[in-house]
């Protein structure tokens, strides 16, 4: 019971408040900007040379306003928006007309989640372990080499790294497919061939996410371990004759893991953004490519939907990590 009262409830409140802040931003940004999406939509038609008489323009404006939820006072619009949001109803997509935005997102979300989940976990584990050893033995030769590679790869934005991999593997050594998530026109079945094809298509996007992720966690872990290493209890364990392996795994890495978990929760939003950018580069059929199409076709409903769903997905994952934290840190005892 104490767990619920002192740990779960405050976090649950924060969770809903963060979603609320995000959704409010999504609502107010288009409304406080000087450009009018409805006028832009009409202008696109007129520049394409379509003639419309004033009456049908008038009709179209009111229909669009209804679709975009721009009718009534700001407060009514906001209430309406929240109600529609709670039902995850974002209206039809314009990019693939009558398909609802919800269906499009439901189709692409599994791809993104799969890619994101596997690469984030893998890079976090590899980076933390490598970084742990590197921080403990900073004078080894391989540590210096990895350090050097990390220095070049780590600062690169996702797009540039993905593009470099695309050029390298798509044009110089064409081994892996550089577009899509499955062979074109193919049907996904549960057999070996399907799985191999999916993995092959996921290889390059996953590699670019893994590379950046691993080096970020590597450097974070290395810094933490370097400080933990000089703590008194580690020195004491060493003098008391505790085997070095035990010191590294149970005393140093275990303790240094905790800030890494907090770091994971805090940087999940950025990793997610990076995954979207990577998907765009490789036309991977996830949310990133959907976002790209939404922007290119000027599809506001889809864009709003993607933004809102992204906020929910990320805040939920952060919330889950937060709930797991006490399991990993024995010092947090729900008081």
């Amino acid at each position: 019971m104490k767990f619920v009262k002192n740990y779960l409830i405050p976090r649950l409140i924060t969770y809903f408040l963060v979603i609320f802040v995000g959704i409010t931003m999504v609502f107010f940004i288009p409304r406080f900007l000087p450009t009018d999406p409805v006028q832009q939509f009409i202008a696109r038609f007129t520049t394409q040379g379509v003639y419309m008489d004033p009456k049908s323009v008038e009709n179209m404006i009111s229909t669009l306003k209804q679709l975009y939820g721009l009718e009534g006072s700001l407060w009514e619009q906001y209430r309406d928006f929240l109600v529609r949001f709670s039902k995850l109803d974002f209206g039809p997509s314009y990019y693939q007309f009558p398909t609802p935005v919800k269906t499009l997102i439901a189709q692409s979300l599994p791809w993104t989640v799969g890619l994101l989940l596997s690469t984030t976990l893998l890079s976090w584990v590899i980076g933390s372990i490598l970084g742990g050893f590197a921080g403990y033995y900073p004078d080894k030769k391989w540590v210096k080499i990895v350090d050097l590679i990390a220095m070049v790869i780590r600062p690169m934005p996702y797009y540039i790294l993905a593009l470099s991999l695309l050029i390298l593997f798509g044009f110089i050594f064409p081994i892996f497919p550089v577009r899509g998530g499955f062979s074109i026109g193919g049907k996904i079945r549960f057999d070996l061939y399907s799985i191999v094809t999916i993995l092959k298509h996921a290889f390059l996007p996953a590699l670019s996410l893994l590379l950046i992720g691993t080096f970020v966690w590597f450097q974070g872990m290395k810094l933490i371990v370097q400080t933990v290493k000089s703590e008194d209890y580690v020195r004491y364990a060493k003098y008391a004759g505790v085997p070095e392996k035990k010191i590294v795994y149970q005393y140093v890495i275990r303790n240094a893991m905790l800030p890494q978990i907090t770091g994971l929760a805090l940087s999940l939003g950025q990793i997610f953004s990076g995954a979207l950018i990577t998907e765009m580069t490789f036309s991977y059929p996830g949310m990133g490519t959907l976002l790209y199409n939404a922007v290119f076709t000027g599809d506001y409903n889809l864009l709003m939907g993607i933004t809102s769903i992204s906020i929910i997905v990320i805040t939920t994952s952060v919330f889950l990590i937060d709930l797991l934290y006490p399991l990993l840190d024995p010092r947090v005892k729900y008081k």
Binding site: I29, T35, P37, L276, I311
Partner: protein, 284 residues
């Protein structure tokens, strides 16, 4: 100047400094550019690098080298604006939260954490897409600045929290200084180094964002930046046509910028952290 000489002893800073200097020289070369970057067909089309066009030309008949000079200048300018705007917000939020404490602190930190958790990229895209018609380097800089302050506000706040517990704060308060003079005279000097080291990281983030937004097509493609340069080359199928000089130039120069800024920020933050400095001096 003494700080600078100390920093130059670090090889990483030396490399970074040389690259940044080179980029600045490139930016200043725009003043002598023989071509207007907004004009097409001023030189022969799609020519590989050779004398007079040392980085080749594009298939729109622009000289890659001279477009690059403008691109580097504009990208650096955007990121500098973003950096300055977000530094101002981070300082305001961090100082207010750290110094006032209590409810204000809790509200501000909740906002900061929300900004950290929410995937800002999609919100920036939403913003940029709607305001696309008005996007120029200054507006883009302000937009990125308005979203890129959260992490650094936390850093400033924790620094202010530790400063507030120092004896000199009490001395100032007891001798009757008001809040404004404590913050400006006593705290700002401690916060300045922090501002510089976080500025560099933020600039790097802003350039990466600018490139991504340009590729998405939500930035004005007529303004030459590293991102729009890349976008033009990719949308003109330069990769398939084998015009490597056109694609690789923005890619290589952006990698140079990122590596240089990163090395600089690492070197400066190590310099600011006395424990790390001791380790380094001990090794040398």
């Amino acid at each position: 100047m003494k700080v600078f000489r100390e920093l130059l002893k670090d090889n990483r800073f030396k490399i970074a400094f040389v690259i940044v200097l080179l980029l600045c020289v490139l930016s200043f070369l725009t003043a002598f550019s023989p071509y207007d970057p907004s004009q097409w067909n001023v030189v022969e089309r799609s020519s590989p690098p050779r004398w007079l066009h040392i980085l080749g030309t594009t298939s729109m008949g622009q000289d890659v080298f001279w477009v690059l000079t403008y691109a580097v200048r504009n990208s650096l300018l955007t990121s500098l604006i973003a950096g300055i705007v977000s530094r101002i917000i981070a300082l305001l939020v961090g100082i207010l939260a750290g110094f006032k404490g209590g409810l204000i602190d809790r509200i501000l930190m909740f906002l900061t954490d929300s900004f950290l958790v929410i995937p800002l990229f999609v919100i920036i895209v939403l913003f940029a897409m709607i305001a696309k018609a008005r996007m120029d380097i200054i507006n883009l800089g302000i937009l990125l600045g308005a979203f890129g302050w959260a992490w650094d506000a936390r850093v400033v706040r924790s620094q202010v929290l530790s400063l507030r517990e120092q004896d000199f704060t009490y001395t100032s308060i007891l001798s009757g200084s008001n809040t404004r003079s404590i913050i400006f005279k006593d705290y700002i000097p401690f916060l300045i180094p922090l501002v510089f080291s976080t500025l560099i990281g933020n600039m790097s983030w802003a350039i990466g964002m600018e490139i991504t937004l340009s590729i998405l097509g939500v930035f004005n493609l007529e303004i030459p930046t590293l991102g729009t340069m890349l976008q033009w080359s990719i949308s003109s199928q330069a990769l398939f046509l084998g015009y490597w000089w056109w694609v690789l130039t923005p890619v290589v120069f952006s990698i140079l910028i990122f590596v240089a800024l990163y090395l600089m920020s690492v070197s400066i933050s190590e310099y600011l952290d006395p424990r790390m400095r001791l380790q380094r001096v001990g090794k040398a």
